[in-house]
Symmetry: C2
Amino acid sequence: MTQEEKDIYLKFGLAGSMVLFGFDGEDLKVLIHQKKDEPFKGAYLLPGRYIKTDEAIDPVIKELMHHHTGAEYAYMEQLKAFPKVFRNPEGRIINISYYALVKIDEEMLQKTEKRKGIWVNYDEIPDLAYDHNEIVEYAKERLKRRVKRRPIGFFLLPKLFTIGELQKLYEKSLNKELDKRNFRKKIFKSELIIPTEHTKPGPRKDSVLYKFDEDKYEKLTLKGYDFLF
Amino acid sequence: MTQEEKDIYLKFGLAGSMVLFGFDGEDLKVLIHQKKDEPFKGAYLLPGRYIKTDEAIDPVIKELMHHHTGAEYAYMEQLKAFPKVFRNPEGRIINISYYALVKIDEEMLQKTEKRKGIWVNYDEIPDLAYDHNEIVEYAKERLKRRVKRRPIGFFLLPKLFTIGELQKLYEKSLNKELDKRNFRKKIFKSELIIPTEHTKPGPRKDSVLYKFDEDKYEKLTLKGYDFLF
DNA sequence: CCAAAAGTGTTCGGAATACACCCATGA
DNA sequence: TCATGGGTGTATTCCGAACACTTTTGG
């Protein structure tokens, strides 16, 4: 590239955004917040920021997640690039979006609140700035497919969880109701979860807490397992 | 953004690349060519080019495809962004990659030859410049998944095709052998293909030519059909 | 004693898989 | 006449889907 060409071509900006899905045992949620500066001050939008030319984007997204939630690790994957010409009034900014999965617990709730984060319900996403609604839609589609074929639902649950919680999670992300008996049959057949000694006090009857068999999970993901809900 | 910030942030380049899969009735292939200028002159790489800040990328990719193959339409989808910091010595260039599916006929072979394109076998991709091997790997994974669930194989076949060709295509892209009888059963059950009056002279026995039921395809894609090989 | 969630088996139909031989024809 | 690819049917197994009652316990 000549200097002239560089002047023409090296004029893009790069932003990274994150669709953070969280599950609290009851509902599937997405983290958004309100923009603090112009343009679009006050508008809702996804967590994200501009990237510098010497920065890798993956660590930025991890850092974003840590900053907003306090979580160290999570399932995380790039969605795709959103490269429309007029998506951002500041210039031609390419957005590369990721999605991540976390379990929402008390600690995280406090953290996100401190950071002015807002957990909105999976199917009640408000109007967002830029093309962020489009990004969320794309992320939801991806999540639905992934949940069907890989046991990534486990990333959204605490270490110990009940079958009821697991089923609710699947129902929310697939957006349909599942039969309790068939659900149990399928989950147990996969042998991905192990019952523990512990129980969770329910409003009436207690329920058994399960944990996730990580070894088995590793093996299954390696050979491209199909979970198939 | 202040001017100062723009100087820091708006320094990225954007390139679009395309993994073009083609099927000639026998083998599944990928189009590559050789770089004509420095850096990496002579190296193999994917079709692609730099994007200007006022250009949308989708049309550029379509234009690329048309330029290299002469084809007007094809199945086409963004893969994802490849945003590594040091992938390109010219600067921080973000690559957004697409893949597309075409049928290779005589006419296209002439066109690609004229454009110095090289059709290499699906499982014999040579070393490519930049991170293009990584892009091709990603595209192959995507193609495998898509072929399993959507009848996109039809984009890779001529208007009239034999069951044998269709089966070969599936075998190549899934990289496994399929049982002839079971394959036919499944394909016919889907009712996506219609027999025609025509036959194709085989080396021995002639074989019936089929065409693709486009109306049925439309309906099935609308309601999120699962083909499932 | 009742409301609410936990837990538990069976039946049926459809699909996937495995498997072997005849046919037509050009060489 | 034989080598090559086209074409065809059945039996078994497995999985998904539909479906209803009992158990526990706090209020």
